[in-house]
């Protein structure tokens, strides 16, 4: 897919691009009619390539594909979710480029964003699905409760029924956020609603999982842009995530990796190691087992990401991260509940309790020794 196109003197090696009026109904035509110049379109394509984690040499190919792309109908269904994914996508920036991505699709239903409500809105959804049957893109955020349909309904329709109905006519499904991809927080132990992910229900449609709690906005738009550009789903990993964004672990791309390699770790959030920006592994960082684009793409238009801000990665794009043993427990620590371990008989349990108490006190003493109290003067700086 990522055929490397070398540019000679700035022009692509293939045939010259056709010049003229863009075809009707295409993205090219829509942009030209909005007064978007070819130069503006080039900026759009360059940024889209960066968004899709494609090499810059692909920019001419993207331009050709986007010019001819038809505006796909998109139906967005929100189930058991906190709306964080929609907020991440729509509130983070008022980006001209990302708004163009949205202008490039026909968002025919999104019950959080749309002004319409009630029976009229649902009728409009059904009409859009019927008109674009087999061709619309279905985007889902939130998990689906199976224990009782009443836990989450829209217009009196259970999430399960609405998903099954909408999936029938979808060309592809994009599951946005860890709830839709792996069940998320509703799925966390004891999972009272019987929450499941989209791919546990739909088995006969291509599904792109875009996990994260929430996902990075540009990852969501990057996946949309890929579908718009190539008309196909991107290459996926073994649990359905686009490899372009989820192909490498946070650990492998983290700028603090040299500290890990040298064995330089922050022991507490305010010790000298923390202030020097050392590795956060001992403070619970799940970077080694988490696959996402945070370390390179970052958040808030490339401003920062949790580790850069001093907080360990919580692994929010991985299945069952809420039940992963604690955000502040190092990956090397056992996650089993010691009180349930058969090894500890009554007397043994008492002894173990003392031992653990001593160990914890020792750890606390060590923490106290390396703890540097922050003063008011520090905060004033």
């Amino acid at each position: 897919m990522t055929k490397d196109l070398s540019l000679k003197n700035g022009a692509p090696e293939e045939e010259t691009l056709e010049i003229g009026t863009p075809e009707k109904g295409t993205l090219g035509e829509a942009l030209r009619s909005q007064g978007v110049s070819r130069r503006s379109f080039m900026k759009f394509c360059a940024t889209t390539a960066s968004m899709m984690a494609l090499p810059p040499s692909m920019i001419p190919s993207i331009a050709r594909a986007l010019e001819k792309a038809r505006r796909p109908s998109v139906i967005w269904l929100s189930f058991q979710e906190c709306t964080g994914c929609t907020e991440s996508l729509t509130r983070a920036h008022t980006s001209t480029i990302e708004s163009l991505i949205f202008d490039s699709i026909s968002l025919d239903y999104h019950h959080t964003l749309q002004a319409a409500a009630g029976h009229g809105a649902e009728a409009a959804r059904e009409a859009a699905m019927e008109e674009n049957y087999g061709n619309y893109l279905l985007v889902v955020d939130g998990s689906i409760p199976l224990a009782n349909a009443g836990y989450s309904t829209i217009a009196g329709i259970s999430n399960l029924d609405m998903l099954n109905e909408a999936a029938k006519g979808a060309a592809a499904i994009i599951a946005v956020g860890t709830c839709a991809t792996y069940g998320g927080i509703p799925h966390a132990n004891p999972n009272p609603t019987g929450a499941v992910s989209v791919n546990e229900i739909i088995k006969d449609k291509p599904i792109i999982n875009v996990p994260g709690c929430p996902p990075i906005p540009v990852v969501i738009t990057g996946v949309l842009a890929h579908y718009l550009t190539f008309g196909s789903i991107p290459e996926l990993d073994h649990i359905g995530r686009p490899k372009a964004f989820y192909g490498q672990s946070i650990h492998d791309r983290c700028y603090r990796r040299p500290f890990y390699d040298k064995g330089q770790f922050a022991e507490t959030f305010d010790d000298e190691g923390a202030k020097k920006g050392w590795c956060l592994f001992k403070l619970g960082c799940k970077g080694p087992t988490t696959y996402n684009a945070c370390a390179t793409t970052k958040w808030n238009n490339g401003t920062s990401f949790p580790i850069e801000s001093g907080h360990p990665c919580i692994g929010c794009s991985e299945p069952d991260f809420w039940d992963g043993g604690g955000f502040y427990k190092a990956l090397s620590m056992p996650t089993a509940d010691l009180s349930q371990t058969a090894v500890y008989a009554a007397a043994g349990a008492a002894a173990a309790g003392v031992a653990i108490g001593l160990m914890n006190r020792s750890k606390k003493n060590t923490s106290n020794k390396i703890h540097v109290t922050t003063t008011i003067e520090d905060l004033k700086k």
């Binding site: 000679k8 010049i19 900026k43 960066s50 920036h93 700028y255 990796r257």
Partner: protein
């Protein structure tokens, strides 16, 4: 000045610790050679590289500024300038909120986005003909 006893916060990892600055400068060096040898353009997407805090600034500061600067108004502003190393350009695209949406180092004679685009020229000719009220043939 660090008064004795007050903690120092070092949130900028030096390039000797994260080692990304020099490799990128070498990549630019190779790209310049390729431009001389075969007229081939190279583009480095700075958003695709895990740079530590301060590293991008170090790279940009090292590249410096040259003779050419341009400010574009295309779907939000874009800044393009040739660095002190002729043929090495820094292209920064902003959205309409002045946030950076993409940033590239282009090693080329002139970045494509600076050139007048043929399609826009066609439309410009049509517009001028309309303004003049004459047949373009």
């Amino acid at each position: 000045m660090n008064p004795a006893g007050t903690p120092q916060f070092n949130i900028h990892a030096g390039n000797e610790l994260t080692c990304n600055v020099k490799p990128i400068l070498h990549e630019i060096r190779h790209a310049l050679q390729k431009l001389l040898d075969s007229d081939e353009t190279s583009i480095i997407d700075l958003r695709s590289i895990p740079l530590a805090p301060g590293e991008e600034e170090t790279i940009i500061e090292t590249l410096g500024r040259g003779e050419v600067q341009a400010r574009l108004d295309v779907l939000g502003p874009s800044d393009i300038y040739e660095t002190q190393y002729t043929g090495v350009w820094l292209v920064t695209h902003y959205n309409d909120s002045d946030s950076i949406v993409s940033r590239f180092i282009e090693v080329t004679e002139i970045p494509d986005v600076l050139k007048s685009q043929r399609e826009d020229v066609v439309h410009a000719l049509d517009a001028l003909v309309t303004e003049l009220g004459t047949d373009k043939t």
